[in-house]
Symmetry: C2
């Protein structure tokens, strides 16, 4: 009954698809946040659901932790094996199984990445709109309920995942949901697994909703003298039900970094990046209306671009924003926040947080999926500098408390993992968080699935 | 430890808001389906969450069943107190607590009905789009994950409910979700309670998402010679991402009943009722495109109406469809089905079911929220005629099996209740259904919350 005996029991079944090599363990001990490298005891690359079931059954029997690994891009330490054990890497379960053009859905294995999926879909006229920036795996995106820039129009993984195949802790394989577009057929197990961060079961297959590639797309940029004007524009756009596909806020610091990194010459101030999807006429109408809102709120230089190359360059710059920040602050990495508040509180939440930053002396860009009330600060810290990390943590905690007080969530899209667990009780209340722990124990009485994350206790 | 002692323990707290009168018990023993009258032992009208908590705590202690009652409009016997006990009627918890214009959400008590809510919202420019036809309560709609005609555009209660206050079986009061538009903050308890049919907790407050009243609305009707052409039009409309607000199919039988009941003179054949929401230009563009699709698929007489009175008359006729059927078949009531299949299977599923009906000799109209792949048959039966009910049940069972085989669900929007429980194992698989039972026992170990419904066992 130990990690060692579990691994020994699995060695013959997996051969060279089970590794205990130091270099491998080091690789899978890393994370995209600032948590120290924490290697698992072994890494396994399953190829079938039945193999995942074997691992789960064996690990439950021996009391060995399992951490599921998609593309390793999560930002809150979800993939850090804090109690050791086995990391299950899904890179070999990366097949697109069924594309249903007529129904606008697709069945994939969890290791498929969103870019891979969209490349495969290109000829179908359909696309998968959830775009967290990183080329994350669809399995990982479901497990963390990811979203990103297009959520304002197309929703998050919560709305996208229609059905799952899941391996339970004891090895049972279940299917949840269906390809029907709606259902009132019992507890919504699909939605329970989406966002459960590998603590309730291991996702081995997903059916996700697709959307038609829009007939026309255009992107727009507009600068503002003060951040309030930009936020007010966003609020009015949402309230008028203008179906913007993306509406992103970047502050002056972010623009400065992007200009330097991507060769832009944008005015360094609060800026909205907007994208419109629809018919030719619809897109033009949307752009015109939003352009008017920008002007009324003090925006200048509203420009819209319909050429794909201009748009791609713009969103590529937006997606590379984090690397741009790292380039501007050599040797530093971002301590990221992920507040999401009701949109009526967004201006207050942002302005109070910017005051904190100004006092702190940190360089800390702000970018936001503001149509959803979600924004990120990245306090640029030296990862080895304990004092800086402590100061960043204090700032982030202050923001988290502010967010909860404003009726929001400390995690709009990054998940809980290790980093946000300390806020679960404050955000949900002790009883609701306790209920999550009860659910966890119902699904995983041995506590082997991603232990130390999300729920109370270990 | 009994129903009797539970009621006795609650009598002093509720006074005349607890009734054991026969007439009252008879009233709350009724249901909108064809289940026999089954009175509860007592009815309680709570006014506060704390009172609901007292009832739950007392009932858990004494082992007394609780059935929550909103407006009594459910169609699968959810509200039938099959094991007796207390029916909690929410008609006194019917206040609209907070309207958040800027955030486009509203906080309500569970007894608020959807029409009451929309009347209150009229001046705000916002509306609540979920429309199951009946003037159901918002609490009941959440508990059954209701949807209806507008789901194709605005989603179902699954997408609408943002946050809940829930009384657990042991009396603890929890809050789930928040007014933030998205969150990746732990298990989605909100979505777990939505559709749980009163078996996991009792909803005492809801925050639901609103939408902007569209600048322009128009409705269209188009007749088809064969049902295939109508369905093909729907599929193409959805695939082209035309954001229709409603797209309803009615067969010739339904149209005949509506003509007789509402004084229309529509051609008696498969007909699409369509509604468009958007800007003036957007609505015109949508109507033109859908009109073209109708014509290409053999539709004739595509007409669109922008006048509110014409539209209201049309949808009122659609909503009164069931009463029209009852008027056409005096002394009979509908044995309703609720299949929802992937849209690519909709034509097959409908055509095979219509063949069954033709053979059976039943009058059985077909109406469908076909943009979602959801359609209803109503076998018109004499409620006292056991043979007819048995034949209707056999037909419905055949349709349910067909639906599951086609990858759909037997309950698109009506819920499981009593009527659909026998299909849960076939639809979800034994292990997934068993997991639902495990969740139920975690939340309600004494089994007092709406026993005999949804999960395995009693």
């Amino acid at each position: 009954m130990s990690i060692e005996t579990a691994i020994a029991a699995l060695e013959s079944a997996f051969g060279d698809r089970l590794s205990r090599a130091d270099t491998v363990r080091q690789t899978y001990g890393q994370n995209e946040a600032w948590y120290p490298v924490t290697p698992p005891d072994a890494v396994i690359w399953p190829e079938t659901t039945e193999e995942v079931s074997l691992v789960a059954r064996t690990c439950t029997e021996h009391g060995c932790p399992i951490v599921a690994w998609g593309a390793g891009t999560s930002l809150e330490g979800h993939i850090v094996p804090v109690q050791g054990g086995i990391t299950l890497c899904f890179e070999r379960m990366n097949r697109i199984l069924e594309i249903h053009d007529e129904d606008m859905d697709v069945v994939v294995q969890p290791g498929v990445t969103r870019k891979q999926l969209n490349e495969d879909l290109r000829a179908t006229g359909l696309f998968f709109p959830i775009d967290p920036g990183a080329d994350a795996s669809i399995g990982g995106m479901a497990a963390t309920r990811a979203s990103g820039t297009c959520a304002v129009r197309y929703g998050t993984m919560r709305e996208s995942v229609m059905a799952l195949e899941v391996v339970l802790a004891d090895g049972r394989i279940i299917r949840t949901g269906s390809r029907a577009r709606k259902a009132s057929n019992g507890y919504d197990l699909t939605k329970l697994f989406v966002g459960s961060e590998g603590t309730l079961g291991i996702i081995t297959e997903l059916t996700v909703r697709l959307h038609g590639q829009p007939e026309a797309i255009s992107a727009a940029i507009c600068g503002f003298n003060d951040i309030n004007g930009a936020i007010q524009t966003v609020i009015e756009t949402i309230q008028m039900s203008i179906p913007v596909a993306r509406i992103e806020l970047l502050d002056g610091t972010s623009i400065r970094a992007m200009n330097a990194y991507s060769g832009y010459e944008m005015k360094e101030g609060p800026t909205l990046f907007i994208e419109f999807h629809g018919s030719e006429r619809g897109v033009a109408e949307q752009a015109q209306t939003v352009g008017e809102l920008c002007a009324e709120n003090g925006g200048t230089g509203f420009e819209w671009a319909t050429k794909a190359e201009d748009r791609n360059r713009l969103w590529s710059a937006r997606h590379n924003f984090y690397y741009a920040m790292k380039a501007m602050c050599p040797g530093r990495t971002g301590y990221n926040t992920d507040s999401c508040v009701p949109i009526s509180r967004l201006a207050d939440c942002i302005l109070e947080s910017l005051e904190d930053i100004a006092e702190s002396g940190f360089t800390s860009p702000l970018v936001g999926h503001v149509g959803d009330g979600n924004f990120h600060l990245s306090y640029m810290v030296e990862p080895e500098n304990a004092d800086e990390i402590e100061r960043a943590r204090a700032l982030a905690d202050r923001l988290s408390k502010r967010t909860i007080a404003m009726g929001g969530t400390v995690s709009g899209e990054h998940g809980i993992g290790i980093g946000k667990r300390k806020f679960m009780e404050a955000e949900h209340g002790a009883d609701a968080w306790a209920i999550m722990g009860d659910i966890k124990r119902t699904f995983d009485p041995a506590g082997i699935l991603n232990p130390g994350k999300l729920v109370p206790g270990n």
